[in-house]
């Protein structure tokens, strides 16, 4: 390892600087670089457009919604919509902060819990040949193909039988068993070299230690990705199906209550859209920088 790093350091000064692409890819032409920049630019513009429009709508005064011809960008940007949203939020029966706390708490709990227990299950499912593993793998792929629209009755019965109705458990435990994250992690872990695990086993490592000290560090990019997906999914969930106490409900529910109204609430509902995505966006950005760092440092390959 140390030797390799030394070699890399030695090589560095000789590499030519390129705008894009890896220095290692010596067989490349600059004309390709320009073409790729162009394509990325166009695709990025298309992707970014809806967000730009969403922010634009949120800072548009309400009367401008009905200009003819409609303007692409607002002439008089204002924060009135956000102010209206805040004043509406102050009038809720349960404090707005409580809804916010519930959403943050539930999202974090589910994300941490899911990443932890699903990665624990993913390691044996990806890497060990034991009785039952094959069956479970098939069941997991199948479960992804089953839409959840009709399973709510069964889940309601289970949750009420467990006595979890109207508690945080109802919002936290069931989503922790979602198979999407597990499936992504399992498939990623199959790429970890067997020889590495074998060597660890020879040295007397238990499965627990292999999981915690070899598999988890090596699959950091994937569990960070899964964390994004889970967090974002849970963040938008309205839990009012299994929870009836107002003080246990989440932001999406509160926001829907606030913004369901006639045209006067249109501005506020645009503001909600922007306000609700701030936290997931931040989470995503922080998370992504971590992924990149991992990629740069993990040189472990077979």
């Amino acid at each position: 390892m140390a030797c390799e790093a030394g070699i890399r350091k030695l090589k560095k000064p000789r590499k030519k600087v390129r705008l894009i692409g890896n220095e290692a890819q010596i067989g490349r032409k600059s004309s390709g670089d320009v073409l790729m920049l162009l394509i990325v630019g166009i695709m990025a513009a298309f992707s970014f457009f809806p967000l730009l429009m969403a922010i634009n709508m949120a800072i548009k005064p309400i009367n401008e919604l009905f200009y003819y011809p409609p303007r692409l960008f607002t002439a008089h940007p204002t924060l009135d919509n956000f102010k209206m949203l805040f004043s509406l939020m102050q009038n809720t029966r349960v404090s707005f902060l409580r809804y916010a706390f519930n959403t943050v708490f539930i999202s974090l709990a589910v994300t941490l819990g899911h990443v932890f227990i699903a990665s624990m299950a993913a390691y044996p499912l990806a890497k060990l040949k034991l009785p039952g593993i094959k069956t479970i793998n098939t069941m997991i792929v199948f479960s992804l193909m089953f839409v959840s629209a009709v399973t709510d009755v069964a889940n309601y019965l289970t949750i009420s039988w467990l006595g979890w109705l109207d508690t945080y458990f109802a919002s936290i435990i069931p989503p922790m068993g979602a198979t999407l994250g597990l499936f992504i992690m399992r498939n990623y872990m199959t790429t970890i070299p067997d020889s590495l695990l074998e060597a660890a086993r020879m040295d007397g490592c238990s499965n627990y230690r292999i999981y915690w000290q070899i598999v988890m560090p090596l699959s950091k990019p994937v569990w960070l990705t899964v964390a994004i997906l889970v967090f974002q999914q849970v963040w938008g969930v309205d839990n009012s199906g299994y929870v009836y106490r107002e003080s246990l409900k989440t932001l999406p529910y509160a926001m829907r209550q606030i913004t369901t109204g006639a045209i006067v609430r249109m501005g506020a509902s645009q503001a909600v859209g922007v306000a609700m995505m701030i936290i997931p966006a931040l989470f995503f950005i922080v998370n992504q920088t971590k992924i990149i760092n991992t990629m740069a440092t993990s040189g472990m390959r077979e």
Partner: protein, 306 residues
């Protein structure tokens, strides 16, 4: 003889399992939740698909009646099936290819730009506001961008009801869906393209790989095979079990069922008509459809070299 063999194998399996009990301990917490909140409801749904059930009264066993009704008499289901197939056949492969292309492109940039670009490409999925924007762009009155633009150009005289006209609904939904194709599959592919060690490209260049296209075919795709298969599964579930674009843009139900998908049909019977037996049958049909498409696409990917 055979019985003995079977017994021996069972004993052997039990012994292997016991000797590796730590592996099962690792899996236990997840599997308990998985069986309780996923496997059990699925089994219950499959059982309910053979009954008539309205939640309030006890289910009545009707054997294959629900399936017969679905395939023989339900004309709306035929429309939904056709729309779903068209929708999935276009958005599925195209979105998959787009995600791969974007993931690969982004990987060519320097780390800081990579993060920024990943964010920009993924933003439509985070924001969830895409539908609102599109419904404003294609608004049915003259305040909508498309209508006012076309009117000012003199191409049309009266605003077109974009999401109220049969011929426009499905194509528009497909376009919007493509716009949003950088979802979970894209993130998986990002992790995949990033995990290819640059040294391989270097080695390949020495071995005679001349351009980017060859790099992708000979190195990137084979190296990230498991990620490609993961993304394919996500793409399939995302396309067949997706009613968001249809409901948010074309309304529910859409004009003449022009934007009706199996998923909206399912929601119709499960939440509005509360014919849970029938809804369960629809979900089982969708399940079988997705499994077969999945089998097919995995086989196809293996052939390509993944």
């Amino acid at each position: 003889m055979k019985l003995k063999n079977c017994k021996e194998r069972l004993a052997f399996n039990c012994r292997t399992a016991w000797n590796n009990r730590s592996a099962y301990v690792l899996m236990a917490p997840f599997l308990i939740i998985f069986f309780t909140f996923t496997v059990f409801p699925v089994i219950m749904t499959i059982v309910l698909s053979f009954t008539r059930y309205n939640i309030l009264q006890k289910p009545v066993f009707v054997a294959w009646d629900n399936y017969k009704e679905l395939f023989v008499n339900d004309e709306v289901f035929a429309i939904a099936l056709r729309n779903t197939v068209v929708f999935a056949l276009i958005t599925g492969p195209l979105g998959y290819f787009l995600s791969f292309f974007a993931a690969w492109l982004i990987n060519e940039f320097k780390p800081l730009l990579r993060g920024l670009l990943t964010f920009i490409f993924y933003v439509p999925t985070i924001s969830g506001t895409v539908y609102t924007i599109w419904s404003i762009i294609f608004s049915s009155d003259m305040y909508g961008y498309t209508n006012s633009f076309l009117i000012r150009l003199g191409i049309i005289n009266n605003p077109i009801e974009w999401f109220g006209t049969d011929t426009f609904i499905l194509p528009l939904i497909i376009v919007v869906q493509l716009w949003m194709s950088m979802g979970s599959g894209f993130l998986v592919m990002r992790a995949g393209t990033a995990s290819v060690d640059p040294q391989y490209y270097e080695a390949a260049a020495i071995d005679g790989v001349k351009n980017r296209f060859q790099e992708v075919i000979y190195i990137t795709v084979p190296m990230m095979a498991p990620h490609l298969i993961t993304a394919a599964v996500l793409q399939i579930t995302g396309m067949f079990a997706n009613a968001g674009a249809s409901i948010q843009l074309a309304g529910f139900p859409s004009t003449n069922y022009a934007g009706h998908l199996i998923m909206t049909h399912l929601m119709d019977y499960s939440s509005y008509r509360v014919e849970r037996g029938y809804a369960s049958a629809i979900s089982v049909v969708l399940f079988v459809l997705m499994i077969s498409i999945n089998k097919l696409s995995v086989r196809l990917l293996r052939k390509v070299g993944a």
